[in-house]
């Protein structure tokens, strides 16, 4: 077009970003890459092509990592670990700072390379991905500097295997490598096979930044390479970001290994517009929610929930907005939507959407660019929550919508999902926003905003969106472990029936305790409990899966407990302590009778003290306001995990159970407690104390019986949020496997049990496990 013609048409023209520097960089590496192991690139091996999805052009060939490559990388990381973890905090901080500076200096090269490899618009890689990655290293340089002063009694975990997705290649690398290095770990990172290039460029940066050889290792390849990394015995921790299905497989693959695990998985995040919202801003927010990165965002606001009275208005404005999106060459600075990462993804999205038969489908009336896996921005309205597209993650530029009538119904629909990653709430009513935010099953809530990220603000999910947080102190904690010594969990078998039993003076029946009532076992069987000297101390119910079902249902019904104040929970914990104290002699005698130990009084005293400690914490385990670079607040709130199954240890029948029960209750959780099979009566005696201490029905449920089957039923229960198992004799691998179903949080005593009797046992690891951090972003300004 001539300038004159443009003067008349006022069209946008092409605004291409040059790819020359990025091509030079690829050429300098001969367009063939090996792995980065021990501070040097290996020679290229079995190659596969990495393509520009917008054009189909092969950009370079990278190497399919083998098990031997993973071996070499883990060996390098293992060798590097002692020196790296032994550096001063300041020395590590300097290196992270250098990485941040170098990312900044080469920002455009990273951005262009990212766009070429991934297909995302250069605007996003340039203005979002790369600046956030820089910020992550800057922030973590600070966390490295402060680690020892702020996290005494903690040490790095060791070699971390990290597997990242293709949607934000460099940014996810930063989210993984920065905290690992800041904490003092060494890493083996596998980038996604579609998008290896910026990770390899990052390897260059590591050398310039003075990262010691072996501290960062990058092995390229596909899922097989990832599996080899997951399976490697030299890896102490696996951090994965990607699909829920792969996350579940990793949970199963690491079952029983004791590897630390964080999973950041999929989502179907609700985007809620209330009738008092700034609708135009909410619609513009949707552009950043579901049409950001072609919708290939784990926390994409992909489920639009609109208050019924404004729905047609919102949909009409939204369709008009969609018609103004610009598709095209991702390297063009004036486009909104580039290419999906690969034709395979295009086929996936197409198949999912084409299979839908409900609602009204609107496709933005835009011309598809020639070439590339471009999917038209799509809005599907009028879907019911039962529609597959309302439940399944599409991972493409497809928004599905439905309506709600009331705030309560909005929350109900929002939470009607297996996922729980993020949520957006649009309303001008602060009361409504701050009322809704805590009720949403999500790790991140944005009020009048969407897809805000920062290194200082924890990010991560609940439910099947995974566990663990990335960013801030919470993210650093995921790469640290306490140094307090653990003792191997003793295996204490129930005492066998004596040849000549001594009958008790009067029969004593310990029932189960479910929903605030004493309950007989569903099985109709009981198990005798014998003292070492052959006395029949009592019978406990032989619990089965139905008793667990009933207990979980009772706990579900007791949801009010999770909304009570810390002050009230503290009062009740103090009251339990008071009532336990009043019966201290009785409990001590019971423990002595079961274990034959003399000094059981001390165990009761410590249990009372532990209750006090947790009561003390109940209203003091605060969240924080993260210092994020916006005008607004990012509140990292601590919420109860929800419902926790606790398999009590055998080595301290009362104190062990109390040490786990108290922090769980203090933080507002409901509990299903399975007492030690060897010494169950200390726990069953406790229900009388609970009854007299104003603990609401269903908050604590006690199911006695054979530990392994009960624990497995709990592990597999899809309505249970967490399982803690400190029994001596359990098959932890089976629990890991069973828990993969709903990706529940597991805390198993692979490494042993803490010293329950230690008067100064730190409650904070228990409180941490009993809480989930929810980050609520509240930008403000009038």
């Amino acid at each position: 077009m001539t300038t004159r013609e443009i003067f008349d048409s006022m069209a946008y023209g092409p605004a291409p970003e040059s790819d020359a520097e990025a091509r030079d960089w690829i050429a300098r590496h001969g367009a063939r890459f090996g792995h980065f192991i021990g501070g040097a690139f290996t020679g290229p091996g079995d190659p596969f092509a990495t393509k520009n999805p917008a054009t189909g052009e092969v950009l370079a060939r990278v190497t399919q990592g083998t098990a031997a490559d993973i071996d070499a990388a883990v060996a390098a990381a293992t060798d590097a670990f002692p020196a790296w973890s032994g550096l001063t905090c300041h020395a590590r901080a300097r290196i992270l700072y250098a990485i941040a500076r170098l990312l900044q200096k080469h920002a455009r090269l990273f951005a262009v390379l990212e766009t070429m490899d991934n297909g995302k618009p250069i605007r996003e890689s340039r203005d979002i991905d790369i600046p956030l990655a820089q910020r992550h290293f800057y922030h973590h340089a600070g966390l490295a500097q402060l680690r020892d002063s702020e996290r005494p009694g903690h040490a790095p975990i060791g070699v971390c295997g990290q597997i990242i997705p293709w949607n934000f290649p460099l940014l996810m690398l930063a989210w993984k490598i920065a905290p690992a290095l800041a904490a003092g770990n060494t890493v083996v990172l596998k980038p996604a096979e579609y998008t290896s290039l910026t990770a390899l460029l990052f390897a260059d940066i590591c050398r310039e930044a003075g990262v010691p050889p072996g501290v960062v290792n990058i092995v390229t390849g596909d899922g097989d390479t990832g599996a080899a990394l997951v399976d490697h015995p030299g890896v102490a921790k696996i951090a994965f970001t990607g699909s829920t299905s792969v996350g579940r497989r990793i949970r199963q693959a690491t079952a029983g290994s004791g590897k630390s695990l964080t999973l950041e998985l999929g989502g179907k995040s609700p985007y809620m517009i209330f009738d008092d919202a700034d609708i135009d801003s909410a619609i513009e927010g949707l552009v950043d929610a579901i049409w950001f990165n072609q919708g290939q965002v784990c926390c994409a606001g992909s489920r639009l929930l609109v208050q019924e009275g404004i729905a047609e208005d919102v949909y009409a404005r939204l369709r008009a907005r969609m018609a103004r999106l610009r598709l095209g060459d991702p390297l063009d600075k004036c486009i909104d939507i580039g290419s999906l990462v690969d034709p395979v993804q295009h086929q996936r999205v197409t198949a999912l959407v084409d299979a839908n038969t409900e609602g009204d489908t609107y496709r933005a009336p835009l011309d598809l660019p020639a070439g590339g896996a471009v999917y038209l921005p799509t809005l599907i309205t009028g879907l019911s929550p039962a529609a597959p597209l309302m439940q399944e993650e599409i991972f493409g530029p497809v928004l599905v919508a439905t309506t709600f009538r009331t705030p309560a119904e909005a929350v109900e629909i929002a939470n009607n999902t297996r996922y729980g990653l993020a949520a957006s709430v649009w309303t001008e009513n602060l009361n409504l926003a701050l009322d809704i935010a805590p009720k949403l099953a999500a790790g991140v809530v944005w009020v009048n905003a969407t897809n805000l990220f920062d290194a200082a603000a924890p990010f991560g999910g609940v439910r099947e969106s995974g566990f663990g947080r990335e960013g801030g102190w919470e993210g650093l904690d995921a790469y640290l472990k306490p140094t307090a010594p653990l003792n191997p969990a003793p295996v204490i078998a129930p005492i066998a029936a004596p040849d000549t039993p001594k009958a008790p003076d009067l029969d004593r029946t310990a029932k189960m305790y479910i929903g605030g009532k004493q309950a007989r076992p569903d099985s109709g069987y009981s198990t005798p409990v014998w003292s070492p000297d052959g006395a029949l101390l009592g019978q406990v119910g032989t619990g089965n899966r139905k008793d667990i079902r009933n207990a979980v249902e009772a706990a579900r019904a007791a949801s009010g407990w999770s909304k009570t104040t810390g002050h009230l929970r503290a009062q009740i914990l103090y009251y339990i302590a008071e009532n336990l104290s009043a019966r201290a002699a009785e409990f001590a005698a019971r423990i002595s009778a079961m274990t034959g130990a003399d000094a059981a009084g001390a165990e009761v005293t410590t249990a009372i003290e532990r209750l006090f400690t947790c009561a003390a914490w109940a209203d003091k385990f605060d969240g924080r306001a993260a210092d994020v670079p916006i005008r607004g607040m990012a509140l990292a709130l601590r919420e109860p995990v929800g419902m926790i199954g606790i398999i009590a240890p055998d080595d301290a029948p009362l104190l062990g159970a109390v040490s786990l029960l108290a922090p769980a209750l203090a933080m507002g959780n409901r509990v299903i407690l399975v007492p030690s099979a060897a010494c169950p009566l200390a726990a069953t005696d406790l229900y009388q104390v609970l009854d007299t201490s104003d603990v609401p029905p269903g908050v604590v449920n006690i199911v006695t019986g054979p530990v392994q089957p009960l624990a497995e039923t709990l592990a597999a229960h899809l309505d249970l949020d967490a399982l803690w198992c400190f029994a001596g004799d359990t098959n932890r691998a089976r629990l890991d496997h069973a828990a993969a179903g709903n990706l529940k949080r597991l805390w198993l005593n692979h490494a042993g049990n803490p010293d329950w009797h230690a008067p100064d046992l730190d409650a904070r690891p228990f409180l941490n496990a009993a809480t989930e951090v929810k980050t609520v972003w509240v930008p403000y300004g009038e």
Binding site: I6, M10, G13, D278, E428, A449, G781
Partner: protein, 331 residues
């Protein structure tokens, strides 16, 4: 005058020659009360837009040429004289050196209007005779708008009589700050009536309205009362045109068009002095309202120094070399 230029002049810049002049609405207080403007979200949109839309090379040159046609070339100084105004009008008739336009293959251009105080209207009308460039007069006790109401109405009438085709009125900020929408509506209706066939731009003085929500509500009330344009500022407030204010006002224009079918124009004024800024504003108009708002009928820049920067950029496009201010005739 070339044929092209004649054609351009025929595409008159006056909204009143178009059929659908905003007829206004009865004051709809429910609608006014429903209006929301979330400041932080609006700021995010405004802050990211320059990164989302850009024009390069010949497209940039064409857009900048278009920007010139959108400028209300303005002088509002206490020391304005007939000589100064005639010089400005001459610049409005020939805003860019002909050799530059020739090199770029662009037609002769004029600015959108010339904007002056009442006393300078006759001079400007005379100096622009034979062109289609309208004279705009700031009015109603500009800039504070606190002179007696009947005098403010009378001032409009005098300026119209003197030949002003466009009247830039200032609203009473106190009506917005006290939530007295009825008073604002009544005042605006009176101003519109006084304008007659002259088209009226309502200056909201957004820098003095306290919040974007107030800006949105005041925009809506002025449109209901028949404003042909809504305009940000007098240029005399401490904060004048900004992108967040622009977004707020043009979204109000969009909502008003959706509800009534009337297209109301928009004029950011004060503080837009760089060619690059002008392009961002134009991209925002194109994105939020569409191409009709890239024409002088519906979009004007209130600016005095913007033209100079655009001239330098156009010479750069024509020659490939960066330009200097003194190479371009002053206004």
């Amino acid at each position: 005058m070339t044929e092209t230029a004649t054609h351009l002049h025929d595409t008159a810049q006056l909204p009143q020659v178009h059929a659908n002049r905003n007829a206004g609405l009865p004051l709809d207080l429910d609608w006014v009360a429903r209006v929301q403007a979330n400041t932080s979200a609006i700021e995010r949109r405004a802050a990211t837009l320059p990164g989302r839309r850009t024009v390069k090379k010949s497209y940039q040159a064409a857009w900048l040429a278009r920007a010139i046609t959108l400028i209300d070339l303005t002088t509002l100084a206490g020391d304005d004289t007939p000589g100064r105004v005639r010089r400005l009008c001459a610049k409005a008739r020939t805003p860019v050196r002909a050799d530059i336009l020739d090199a770029l293959g662009l037609p002769p251009l004029t600015t959108g209007a010339v904007c002056v105080y009442h006393e300078m209207v006759p001079t400007a009308v005379e100096a622009l005779a034979g062109t289609a460039i309208p004279v705009a007069a700031v009015s109603t006790g500009f800039p504070a708008g606190l002179s007696p109401f009947h005098l403010r109405v009378r001032e409009i009438e005098e300026s119209v009589k003197a030949g002003a085709a466009e009247i830039d009125i200032v609203i009473s900020r106190r009506h917005v700050l006290t939530g007295n929408w009825q008073a604002l509506y009544d005042e605006m209706c009176a101003f519109r009536a006084a304008c007659g066939e002259a088209h009226v731009k309502a200056i909201l003085a957004t820098g003095e309205l306290g919040s974007l929500r107030n800006v949105a509500r005041a925009s809506l009330v002025c449109m209901m009362a028949g404003a042909d344009f809504i305009k940000t500022s007098t240029g005399k407030e401490s904060v004048n045109a900004t992108l967040p204010v622009t977004l707020t006002m043009i979204r109000a224009i969009r909502a008003y068009e959706a509800a009534t079918g009337f297209r109301v124009g928009y004029k950011p004024a004060g503080g837009i002095s760089k060619a690059k800024d002008a392009l961002v504003y134009m991209a925002m108009m194109k994105e939020e309202l569409g191409d009709p708002w890239l024409k002088p009928e519906l979009f004007r820049f209130g600016a005095s120094s913007l033209l100079g920067d655009i001239e330098r950029q156009l010479e750069h496009h024509a020659t490939g070399a960066y330009s200097a201010a003194w190479r371009h005739p002053m206004g």
